[in-house]
């Protein structure tokens, strides 16, 4: 008796009890479907998180000013000693592994073109900002060091701003006004989409930090070289944590913070924060994984149950097969193949449900559909393994029947 004969016998036996067979496989169906959904959701979500981390800029640290405390109550970021142009230069020159540094000051203001206007975030930055954020222009040119040095009235606009006030026209070279100051649009940024917090990152206008200080927000400020935040890009070979510590030490030194006192600023690794968010997703994945394992076990027990029934129902057939020369191994194989076929049937149904469900989830959550052939193969292999594990006991019982008793059974 070879494998193919066993498969034919098994398929025949399952076809005879088709409804029973399909109902029996329910646990396997759920198990396999949840494995597929689990992987699709897990990889889809983590690729989404990866995309968001990439959108932040990789290997990036952000320095925020600290908050002052009045009677023990925090007054919010930026209320303590502000960061300065000097801090930017110091970090650039003294911290090892630093590739680029850019300050940023932000202001909310309308940008006006002709009779249309759009209130957006005006961000004064250094020329390196685009490089640090991995945020190149789509058309036109980047901000240049010269723009910053000379306080040029040039602006690079985000995709959303371009759509709002240019509506399909080419913004590069066009004149706009921000707080009554004329600017020339020199570039349009590529789209970064939504941030992890749901903010539209493309709703932004970048101008040289010097211009921002002098023309947009500078006059009202106490300190002329004030910087809101500092973006620092670290060499990919350097350790972010080490660079973070170096920056902290440098700034403490510059601020003459006494030993043991708290920092009057904070250095944050935003991609670390993002990664922490993925842990929530990981926990969810574990839950789904547990669901699928439990389903496969419960499904396996269902398979075992029905196989025991099948062995009992077909005791005479087993006796006959033994009488005409079937060895124990032949009988074992026959019932094992039947259990595995049952599980593969459940696996196929599960794959169909799993793929449809992940496609729907991916569509609703706007994630890429990630159902790879390897996952489908793995899920089917898990189903087959369940068949082997839970089919072995009934198959062994069949194989060890006494041929005489089996032939005599009613």
């Amino acid at each position: 008796m070879n494998m193919w004969d066993s498969v034919l016998i098994a398929v025949n036996a399952l076809r005879v009890n088709l409804l029973r067979s399909v109902l029996t496989t329910l646990g396997i169906v759920i198990g396999v479907a949840s494995v597929i959904i689990l992987v699709a959701v897990g990889t889809g979500a983590s690729s989404e998180v990866d995309r968001q981390i990439k959108a932040l800029g990789t290997n990036m640290l952000v320095v925020f000013p600290g908050s002052s405390r009045v009677l023990g109550r925090s007054q919010g970021a930026g209320t303590d000693i502000p960061l300065s142009e000097g801090d930017v230069t110091a970090i650039r020159d003294k911290v090892p592994g630093v590739v680029a540094v850019s300050g940023q000051i932000t202001e909310t203001a309308p940008i006006v073109r002709g009779n249309t206007n759009w209130t957006t975030t005006i961000s004064g930055v250094h020329a390196e900002y685009g490089f640090i954020r991995d945020w190149p222009v789509e058309s036109g040119r980047e901000l240049e060091a010269n723009d910053v040095r000379s306080g040029a009235k040039v602006a690079i606009i985000g995709k959303t701003v371009a759509q709002e006030i240019f509506a399909g026209e080419n913004p590069v070279g066009a004149a706009v006004r921000i707080k009554n100051v004329p600017f020339e649009v020199v570039g349009v940024l590529t789209s970064k989409g939504q941030s992890a917090m749901g903010r539209d990152q493309d709703d932004i206008v970048l101008i040289p930090i010097s211009t921002a200080r002098a023309r947009i927000s500078g006059k009202s400020q106490i300190q002329n070289d004030r910087v809101g935040q500092i973006y620092v890009k670290i060499d990919t070979d350097s350790d972010l944590a080490v660079a973070q510590e170096d920056i902290e030490n440098l700034l403490r030194q510059r601020r003459k913070t006494t030993r043991g006192a708290e920092n009057t600023f904070s250095v944050r690794n935003l991609s670390e924060t993002m990664k922490a968010r993925t842990e929530v997703l990981t926990t969810m994945s574990y839950l789904l994984a547990a669901t699928s394992v439990i389903s496969l076990i419960v499904g396996g027990i269902g398979i075992m149950n029905i196989m025991l029934v099948s062995v009992t129902e077909r005791t005479r057939e087993i006796g006959l097969r033994m009488a005409v020369g079937g060895r124990r191994r032949d009988i074992l194989l026959q019932f094992l193949v039947e259990a595995v076929s049952l599980c593969l049937l459940g696996g196929l149904i599960g794959v169909a449900i799993g793929v449809s469900a992940s496609t729907i989830i991916a569509f609703v959550a706007d994630w890429p559909v990630l159902v790879s052939p390897a996952v489908l193969g793995g899920a089917m292999a898990a189903a087959a393994a369940t068949g082997i594990c839970f089919g072995l006991f009934p198959a062994r019982r069949a194989a060890h029947l006494n041929p005489i008793d089996a032939l005599r059974s009613e």
Binding site: D5, V16, R316, G319, R321, V324, G325, R327
Partner: protein
Amino acid sequence: MTVIERSPSSVPGREGASSATPLISARDLSKIYRVGEQDLVALDKVSLDIAAGDFVAIMGPSGSGKSTMMNLIGALDVPTSGNLVIDGRDIGSLSADELADLRNRSIGFVFQQFNLLPRTSALKQVMLPLLYAHPRPENMEEMARRRLEQVGLASRMDHTPRQLSGGQQQRVAIARAIVNNPKILLADEPTGALDTKTSEEIMQVFTALNREGITVVLVTHEPEIALWAGRRITFRDGRIIDDVRQTPITAAAPPPAGGQPQ
């Protein structure tokens, strides 16, 4: 009618049967079943030789040991003590797999309830023992067809048991039993579920097969069925109480199996 091919050493004409080594040889064969605290002696030191080519009827009331004897001769069971040599193999010394192979190669079974597989064509039924053969023959389907023709079912090859009469089902079972050219055909009450006329037809098939040289061992409690055999052995209380040669009632009749009208 096809003559079953055999190697020369084991081709006994009916005349030469008695002088050759017996095909089945039992010496002091005992089988004891343990039922609760008690030992039940089903076979009590039975010695028996059956020559190749013989047609033997085993009779006796239920509980006489004839079924136990049948199970042992069929290599379905092993004795508690004593020796049983079937076709040169001492079955007490064989493993489960070796017993399975011996059954496959040397013994064909026919049962009272036919024991056909449900929803399976006659041709597939007859091929079943060939699927378990080592090595497996090349022309399985051809072999099965030939046997079905031999028992007069050439036009019923694709019928499932449900589409066949009792007599036809038993013929399928006989074709299955002989498809692998066994030396022994073991029939356990083969006519028990059939009417008199059909029983007679089935006995004619056995007689024809016996004339080709196959050894037939028939277990029955019906005296008129035992009359078809050339030797009648009677069991009681686990022992042989009678062992006689007789003239089979069909000795003069023409061989019927191949001549069945289709």
